[in-house]
Symmetry: C2
């Protein structure tokens, strides 16, 4: 499968412009800086997080491809400018400046699917203050949301030990967040989605057959199963827990024959029920009929079913809500800016004074991940200034955008494979589900945190 | 202010169609039912929740207006049908049926802003099985997301005791979920939003002035403040915690004069800092300068600042993630359907057999909320069959859509006022932040849960 990740339009996710996914203060700062003559100072903004969600061992970068789309489509059409003028959000010179806006700077960052740790420079945005300051909200929205879902997906994929995971969470989150969640889940290791919009927009394989309503619509479970098999073939998945599970399994095999594709169980003690259903299916000769389970699963429930005869997991709520951590705490901070207005004015590192534990490290950063002889990562090294020679080949960030043009588009499969690879190079404790410290320590070089 | 809530287009939230915000099984069920001849049985689907999030006293319905938009725009354009055919999701007869699809049924439900409890029939969708089954995912996505945010907003509004609340969470959630979150927060009691898309789409008042980056861009805090005041006037809000708070407050009043609009504090021990800043502002003669606080607030932090000299709260992460409960557990269940294919075939109640504690009550429901002599609600009464005479005037649900046309559009302000009114009629313990049981018991009449 070749899942494309391009900026192409297509209903219903594409929006004509992303320029209003912006907090008002970005525009008021722009206006004040334009007037003060400081708006065109070369600036470096950095996306990073001070900590992982409590107990998590690693983070997963997702949303990078969507960020590239969003930045390329960040334009102020006349209707938007009219709104901003009318509401007095910006003055005329600022509105005029916005009319010509397109980001023409550089973006480097962790490629999609890569893992990250506290202090990792996940994305670095460089250009004038004016052009960079406007991108704060849209970049953070995308990365914070998508990375939260990808991290949950990754843990679930670890717990599933290779059994396929189906994303079924659309009904539990905003209808467009759902589409991005499907995308992030795929990167984190899910195989398919129930969400047709995600299939349409991103080419993610879709799945789904029937709900309890279909059984209840018919005068008997047998009639419902017969109708489904008649329409979808014996290879379909029959939902067997509307009334009595053993009776439903018997009816399912009678109706579909021993070639029945699968049964789905959506309630009860899945461990016990799965064993009984497997035994019953085998006794009925339906040895190849698979068992899909779908009731309020998270990574712990999935892990607890490792020894059960389960062939696939459908996961909804806990996936799209980040399994307890529905957002990441990524921030977008000015870390360096030119000391004056000239093009050659040197960059100076800047940082808010630490207060209440909010750590900020000034300066444009690089990150490298040295490995031991077996290729297992040893630390997340974050530095300012020149990259030490021995770490030059171990850098994590790549160029994502040059002169405002995306240079690192890739398929979702590429990001998904990168994630599996990156996770595989972490120390083994990364894949423990238990709470713990980040699996790699962050070491600062040439900068005092 | 007249906040409109109509279906009007407008960038960037409008999407050409909502028809793909659909789980695949809805289409496969449709196809099988069309083939079996059962697709046109009259059906009643109900949105309800079996429980509130743990410890919550009441739920808040939000998203109703968005559901009306979504249902009216639920159309399968040729591009979508082409995708569904190509992927083999549906067969030709089903694709042909979808091409003409428009919902032509009836929707009743709790009006937006109303409170709800376990078992409340929040929305009732009636029509043929075929036309109703397709709406499951989009309706649940909207109601589950928006109601989760509105519930958090309502608790925060209670905690703020009339002080204004500013929604600032866009960066912590999906970029379009953020717009819906602003809308839900406004219904729940917030006053304004930082999100320009929410201002543009829904007319919610927007707010915002500057971030630490603006101070760091300039060569000194004084220069930054001067630039901001020069651009936005002395009535602006200056951010005073980039370096040293007392020095910043002194500089702020020096630069803006005693007519300084407000200062914002975004870190540190807000209780202590707010008191010191208030004292300092008063000593400097800036008696009318307000104090806005914005650091990781939730309803508990807001309540803890009740005695602090704080004039407004900016809330982000905890609001848009539902303050610990980022989704509701609303489900969409077939509760009744015709016993045969004829138009006059009587409706029969249906329900999945309870298993693993999943309670379902069959039958088309009404809900009423009787009150005591002071107008305080006593119970959430949910019933099937005829409404008892003494409860007829106490019914909660209203007609929302007739023959597929919305009949209950209203402004956001109407929903916001309804919420304040509905919350005010609950027993006093509803506004305790502490964990507890739902503040109204749900009583079933004429149906056995």
């Amino acid at each position: 499968m070749d899942v494309t990740n391009d900026a192409g339009g297509g209903l219903p996710v594409a929006v004509p412009s992303t320029a209003l996914f912006t907090d008002q203060y970005e525009l008021t700062m722009l206006q004040a800086a334009l007037r003060a003559g400081t708006a065109h100072r070369r600036s470096v903004f950095e996306v990073f997080t001070r900590r992982l969600p409590e107990g998590r061992r690693y983070g997963v970068v997702a949303g990078t491809g969507r960020v590239l789309d969003a930045v390329e489509n960040f334009r102020f059409e006349p209707a938007l400018l009219g709104f901003l003028r009318e509401q007095g959000v910006v003055d005329e010179p600022t509105a005029d400046w916005l009319a010509d806006y397109r980001f023409a700077g550089e973006i480097h960052g962790y490629p999609e699917g890569e893992v990250y740790f506290p202090g990792s420079p996940i994305m670095t945005v460089e250009g004038t203050f004016a052009e960079c300051v406007l991108l704060e909200t849209v970049i953070l929205s995308i990365l914070n949301h998508d990375s939260a879902v990808a991290a949950a997906a990754s843990r679930m994929a670890v717990a599933a030990h290779g059994r396929p995971l189906i994303e079924m969470g659309a009904r539990r989150t905003h209808e467009l967040a759902a589409v991005a969640a499907s995308r992030a889940a795929y990167i984190g290791g899910f195989s398919s989605t129930s969400d047709l919009a995600a299939g349409f927009r991103y080419g993610i394989p879709t799945a789904g057959t029937s709900a309890h309503a279909f059984t209840l619509l018919h005068d008997s479970e047998r009639e419902a199963f017969a109708a489904q098999v008649d329409s979808l073939g014996a290879g379909t998945t029959l939902l067997v827990d509307t009334y009595d599970v053993p009776e439903a399994v018997r009816t399912a095999v009678e109706v579909a024959g021993p070639g029945l594709g699968a049964v789905r169980i959506d309630s009860g003690d899945l461990l016990v029920v799965a064993h009984r259903v497997r035994q019953q299916l085998d006794e009925l000769g339906a040895h190849d009929a698979r068992i899909v389970v779908t009731s309020d699963l998270d990574e712990y429930a999935i892990a607890s079913l490792a020894a059960a005869p389960v062939d696939a997991y459908g996961v909804g709520t806990r996936l799209v809500t980040g399994s307890g951590h529905p957002t990441c705490s990524m921030v977008y901070k000015l870390v360096a800016r030119a000391s004056g207005e000239g093009e050659d004015a040197p960059l100076v590192p800047v940082a808010k004074k630490s207060l209440g534990g909010k750590l900020s490290v000034g300066g444009r950063k690089w990150a490298a991940r040295p490995a031991d002889g077996l290729g297992i990562a040893e630390a997340e090294v974050v530095g300012t200034g020149p990259v030490p020679e021995e770490l030059a080949g171990r850098q994590v960030a790549v160029e994502l955008m040059r002169d405002g043009r995306a240079v690192a588009r890739e398929t979702l499969d590429a990001a998904r494979e990168r994630h599996t690879r990156a996770r595989g190079r972490l120390p083994l404790s990364a894949t423990q589900l238990s709470r713990g410290e980040p699996v790699l320590p962050t070491r600062y070089v040439g900068a005092t945190p």
